[in-house]
Symmetry: C2
Subunit: 360 residues, 2 copies
DNA sequence: TGTTGACCTTCAAACGTTTGAATAGTAGAA
DNA sequence: TTCTACTATTCAAACGTTTGAAGGTCAACA
């Protein structure tokens, strides 16, 4: 067997091994149209040799020649945020049939990493980029760099259409309203709200939804029962924030029969806080979360929550990039689009009719 | 500006734009040693033009020429398994300083995807591969294909040293023992155990650890209190299995004051099952999990568990591949290595001294 | 005998980089 | 003047593919 420089088997190695030219070998192995002309036994011989030598075509050489990478970069701002994975799954599902490979990157909440990965995506000639931007990152200059290179980009979970970027996200406002209406129908009237930090994009629209639904139902939201989480990027911060806020609520001595938390982790923090104070969920107080992540399902009591259709959102984002890539090859670019996915109420054990809560 | 074919700015574009040759431009932009010889203003001019044109070097051309991809494939069998992410984080951390880029791939529990991603890793000329094999996958023929291509491979969370693959995993046996001893010291003597399915690699050693520690402490494990989860690959299956087993335990009418579950999700299923039966945790029954994943922390009560040092494990795996890659460039390969990371008991609220449990 | 077409295979150029070797130009030393 | 040494830049080949164009061979037909 020929001694190869790179340690990898190449077309040349196969050509030498079975006495044909590199061209023929390439034609056969890549199943090019021309391969119909190649004699049956030649084809067989070449394929067998390739198999036996453990040949894998070199993606670099191939992409270089074809000027296509068949790759889409997926850039998650924080992959450990539980809600990323279902999105990633959806994206993969959407990319697969179109023959694009996901290039998954996790910025681990580090801004510098995010930038360098974005750069890497460009160097790798990703034909499109999907950003999962669950947390805030104010600067979009790099994203514009992406656009400058004629690479279509879609962002999931933030609305950046004003910056010219197609966006897929849940209808946060409708979600907030859903939570309020659910509690209202159960009979709750004194509802505490734990809002997300200002720096989290979802916070404002969810709060807006809560407010408008409350107004519509004739519920007065006591400002003293509305708290806001501090802005920390740690994945556990929601839980701790919810816990801390609940302690404050309990210490205040105010009455409330339900709590709406900005997300599931916060809701779990609320449950913990109530439990510390000897308040039972849902008998004494109901709790509603947002997102529908695993911990909300497996906790006891299971958390009633507003579900985001994360998989579908990822799928749609993938389909959009793919379509946009194809479009650009035909020299026509679309205007940025926006999709607000409908949220869905998932009723579990953490909400019930308001009971008689004893307060000493 | 020159009209380029590929839609991307190339060295040639820059060369034309500022009147130097491609070589000079390359030398300057890649900061090659020769660039010391290049006149200051030439350098400036070239860099400025590159910047202005939005040049990103083509990773494909570069890797092709250099015959190095600076890439390590990370192949997770199921990224939605919560315990993958900390490992991935650790790996990234270990790869970064060595200048290798992670190529993250998620097989989504699908065997076929796993195979095709592994193939892709080879086509992308990954210089090393790290497999996170949290669930069983019996065939290692593809892994041997990897070895055949002279690509070092490390597996996290399974012992495949007998197949010649370096392995990093937690000391499951020690972990099982830790759980028993903790309960023993609290005073528990009648302990139920929910074992993992046979197809899950960790199951056997954890059970062995439980058995030996029980024997050492003089605890007799009632076989009727030892149940086994069915083999389902769904991420929720642990929870549902734990719940189902607990219902069976409760229905049996047997006495027990504590439950050891094979992992955290199962433990949460146990808590749910106990709650259904009106059994309080930890007052009436203690529960211990394994892994220390997020849901164990944020549930109420927080689950006492055996922590795997996932980050460190990933870090070590990364360091091993990197070292092995460098070694192969010097034509010397190491024998496969094994590291059993020490588990650690994390005490939370789900365990306490056995109380007087009423049974009618 | 020459021509045609069908069939099978190869040539050679290109993709965008990097880099050892080569080419000039300048200047100081022998 | 010639030699050496240094600076500043370029040539050209190579990495492993793909593919339009061209090269063969062979049989059949005119």
């Amino acid at each position: 067997m020929a001694q190869r420089k790179s340690g990898h088997v190449t077309l040349m190695d196969i050509a030498r091994a079975c006495g044909f030219s590199v061209s023929t070998v390439s034609i056969v192995l890549s199943e090019a149209p021309l391969s119909r002309n190649v004699a049956e036994k030649t084809r067989h011989r070449i394929k067998a040799t390739a198999q036996q030598l453990g040949y894998y075509p070199d993606a670099y050489a191939r992409s270089l020649r074809l000027r296509r990478s068949q790759t889409v970069g997926i850039l998650a701002y924080d992959l450990s945020d539980l809600y990323c994975i279902p999105i990633v799954r959806g994206i993969q599902e959407g990319l697969q049939p179109a023959g694009y490979l996901p290039l998954l990157m996790d910025a681990s909440t580090r801004r510098a990493l995010f930038d360098s990965y974005l750069q890497m995506a460009l160097e790798r000639r990703a034909e499109g980029v999907i950003v999962i931007g669950n947390w805030v990152f104010d600067e979009t200059n790099l994203l514009s760099d992406v656009e400058k290179n004629n690479v279509p980009i879609v962002i999931v979970s933030r609305d950046l259409t004003t910056n010219g970027v197609s966006s897929v996200l849940v209808d946060n406002q409708a979600g907030g309203a859903l939570a309020v209406r659910h509690l209202y129908e159960l009979g709750h009237r004194r509802i505490a709200v734990i809002r997300g930090p200002d720096e989290m994009f979802d916070s404002a629209p969810r709060w807006a939804g809560v407010q408008s639904a409350a107004a519509q139902s004739g519920i007065r939201l006591d400002p003293r029962l509305v708290l806001k989480l501090p802005n920390v990027v740690d994945p556990m911060s929601g839980f701790e924030g919810g816990l801390e806020c609940t302690r404050r609520l309990e210490a205040s001595g105010l009455d409330f029969t339900a709590v709406i938390a900005v997300d599931d982790l916060t809701a779990l923090g609320v449950v913990r806080g109530l439990s510390e104070a000897g308040v039972r969920v849902p008998e004494d107080c109901s709790v509603v979360g947002f997102d529908d992540l695993l911990p909300a399902t497996v906790a006891t009591p299971g958390i009633t929550t507003i579900r985001q259709p994360l998989g579908e959102m990822g799928l749609l984002a993938a389909e959009w990039v793919v379509k946009e890539i194809e479009a650009r090859y035909q020299k026509k670019a679309h205007a940025p689009r926006l999709h607000l996915a409908p949220p869905q109420l998932v009723t579990r054990m953490s909400t019930a009719k308001p009971g008689r809560r004893m307060r000493d």
